[in-house]
Amino acid sequence: MSAITLTLKLAGLTTVILLLLGTPLAWWLARTRSAWKGVVGAVVALPLVLPPTVIGFYLLVTLGPNGPVGELTQALGFGLLPFTFPGLVVGSVLYSLPFVVQPLQNAFESIGDQPLEAAATLRASPLDTFFSVVLPLARPGYLTATVMGFAHTVGEFGVVLMMGGNIPGQTRVVSVQIYDYVEALEYAHAHWLAGGLVVFSFAVLLALYMLNPTGRRRSGKLGASA
């Protein structure tokens, strides 16, 4: 498998997992009055400030043969995660967590109590409300979260290098491949991949800003046509 497809597969899988995990987490962060909100929020934000090598290092230790999680995965028969694709997914999920959770949390917070209360007075159960009111209203937040989660995973390097190594077809993603090319002084190849990443990142961000107009602007347009 080429580095590009591997990268897309990693980013895609990571984004899906993050959306599934991030939704309840962001919902809890947006709605809770618990004293733990600050602590959990800070932990979620840690990857924003920590050097990726630090995350990678601790993951390597924790998931390794003598780490607590490593012992668990071995006991469960999954073997060890470091230097495997699943291990890379675990690392990416942690690394990109804030990029998905924070836009979702902002989206949920901006919805406020009122639509939820209105839905309750209209016989919608909390779960029903979530799917029929919260999700549609949080759509811009989901778009941002998806794009940021995906793009950020594509761009990761430190975590991969620390705990994924450089195994072709398994853990050698684009960013690592570029590093290899540069080490080997194959600048032409490095240019192709690096330039590709620049174009990709720009396209993604452009799409995000174009597809995500504010609700007010959208309803204004409809008003003019009505």
Partner: protein, 373 residues
């Protein structure tokens, strides 16, 4: 307290204590016993606990040690550990600022609740709701494109479409200007008169209350200071409602005749007959008339050589200070209470200034009336 047990009605015993942000915390402690039909209004200044009451009845906030029963259905009974969550209560709630779903068209907003209630023969048909609130032309619009008044009409219709057993309305007109208010009030009146759904209406505007409410609960600082028929409560001199410039009485009359030549309509009530501006309604139709205290003057003998048409024999039942120069006189027109605000000097001159005047028959000259519906 009523001497007999009402099988139907709205009972709400609620205690809500909220820790303060200011100098003292807010405490609500009410025991409401309201008729299970018509419009009951919770009336009081801002911060008196009206909205808190409504939210607790809806179950949006949970009152401590509460009891809520609506026409035989218990929604909350903490002594028996019953608390029905809001989405399982057959209620309609109209929020102060409509709270329409921004991502759904008007039609989809209307259907949101309607499609979540079981189909029963008692169901209010959507077409009727749409017609009642004049929404036919708005169905495909998005909430963001509606005016404040339109939004509020959609919100009312959306709540009605669930065929609620109780409508809770939290100052639905407060965010609207006078013109929009005037646009919606007739819809609310039609609602009251055509659908037999009890309405609990929160307001701090006495004109809305006078126009809509049959029953009134006065709230102040989280406590009920008075509860009863609107006409009675509005004229109780021990309550602030019966004082000041807006003090007025409500007369329930029936159209008895028209005088097209003079553009007048005659309306009878037990206390006599009133001439009012011409109404385009048939003889026998009910008429709700407001008489402001400042429009009523008193004479000891009936005047004949006067331009005032409406002169009613009344009995003085109570007198109370109003402003330094004026007194408020409560009158009884054969069962219908009226108010007259006259100067202290006039009261002295007519011999009405002391409590001894109570029971005397005088003549109320009504200078102007307002038709409420």
């Amino acid at each position: 307290m009523t001497p007999f047990i009402q099988p139907m009605g709205i009972k709400a015993r609620l205690k809500v204590v909220r820790p303060s942000t200011g100098d003292h915390g807010f405490k609500l402690d009410v025991d409401l016993n309201l008729p299970g039909r018509q419009v009951s209004a919770l009336f009081g200044p801002s911060g008196s606990g009206k909205t808190t009451c409504l939210r607790a009845i809806a179950g949006l906030d949970r009152a401590a040690d509460g009891y809520v029963e609506v026409n035989g259905e218990v929604w909350q009974d903490d002594t028996n550990d019953i608390f029905v969550p809001t989405h399982q209560r057959a209620l309609g709630y109209v929020f102060q600022d409509a709270a329409l779903f921004a991502h759904l068209s008007v039609a989809k907003n209307l259907n949101y609740g309607r499609l979540r209630v079981p189909v029963t023969p008692q169901r209010v048909p959507l077409e009727q709701v749409v017609e009642l609130l004049g929404l036919a032309s708005l169905m495909s619009r998005q909430p963001g494109t509606l005016s404040g008044g339109e939004r509020q009409r959609v919100a009312i219709a959306r709540a009605l479409a669930t065929s609620p057993k109780l409508m809770l309305m939290d100052e639905p007109l407060a965010s609207l200007d006078v013109k929009r208010k005037a646009e919606i009030l007739p819809y609310l009146e039609t609602l009251r008169d055509q659908l037999h759904i009890p309405i609990l209406y929160v307001s701090h505007a006495s004109d809305e209350v006078a126009r809509l409410a049959d029953h009134l609960v006065l709230l102040d600082a989280g406590h009920v200071t008075g509860s009863g028929a609107t006409g009675d409560l509005m004229t109780r001199l021990d309550l602030s409602l019966a004082h000041g410039d807006a003090a007025s009485a409500i007369v329930h009359a029936t159209i008895s005749d028209h005088e097209p030549a003079y553009h007048l309509t005659l309306a009878n009530f037990p206390g006599g007959r009133l001439s009012v501006p011409q109404q385009m309604r048939a003889v026998g139709q009910p008429l709700r008339i407001r008489i402001q205290a400042r429009d009523v003057s008193l004479t000891l003998a009936p005047q004949t050589d006067t331009s005032i048409l409406n002169i009613l024999p009344v009995r003085v039942t109570a007198i109370s200070d109003d402003s330094p120069g004026q007194v408020m006189v409560r009158l009884d027109a054969t069962g219908t209470p009226l108010l007259a605000r006259i100067t202290r000097k006039s009261a002295d001159t007519l011999g009405l200034a002391s409590a001894l005047a109570c029971g005397r028959v005088v003549y109320a000259q009504v200078k102007g009336v307002a038709i409420l519906g």
